[in-house]
Symmetry: C2
């Protein structure tokens, strides 16, 4: 399902409007990677979930269009970019911390994040 | 993108594993509706986001398979069901509260939920 970033919000509901931006299987995985210090396309590809290059390209573009990430060039030939979370993107940390609490409680086979992640403030 | 409920988790990451269950545009909208008292198929169809019957059918089945909802019959001919959150499904309330905080802060055109929702405990 494509991320619904170009259409009008489905409603004024804050939950539905958020899902218009990040209601897919990958966007919050990329946010996680950025929160833990990854910045480059090749680093995101390296994560254990094995995102494909076309999905990663698509999601990074959507995240930039939606104000969640900024990209800056770090190399000119060929041009390559680093991606970092904006304040809006960083603000998703408390959402992800609650997701981890829920997941660790109800799916106990999942990894327990380090305290440095769970106690981090933005 | 179909909900990845039948495959193995993509990784042990609690975020990725959660998105395997509810990383789509609709599942958390249905959880929201159930948290605010809706139980019946026709009530979910009535929500302002106008979910289609086939997506709703698909999502309710996935949510049941994933242990987020239980269904019980309330009518025999034709057989009709009511859907309610399990403890696992109810446990998503803090995630949704953080989503609302983030959304209201960064997308100020979104509705502000009533205190009864934002302060509710599970």
């Amino acid at each position: 399902m494509p991320i619904n970033r170009k259409d009008a919000p489905r409603s004024g509901c804050p939950i539905a409007t958020t899902l218009d931006l990040l209601g897919d299987s990958w966007t919050l995985v990329i946010v996680r990677d950025m929160l833990t210090g990854k910045k480059r396309f090749s680093e995101f590809l390296d994560s254990p979930e094995r995102i494909t290059t076309n999905i990663l390209t698509n999601r990074l573009a959507a995240m930039q269009a939606n104000g969640l990430v900024e990209k800056t060039p770090y190399q000119k030939r060929p041009m390559r970019f680093e991606y970092e979370l904006t304040e809006k993107g960083l603000g998703l940390l408390p959402v992800l911390q609650e997701v981890c609490r829920w997941s660790n409680k109800h799916m106990p086979e999942t990894w327990v994040p380090p305290d440095s992640f769970m106690n981090r403030k933005v």
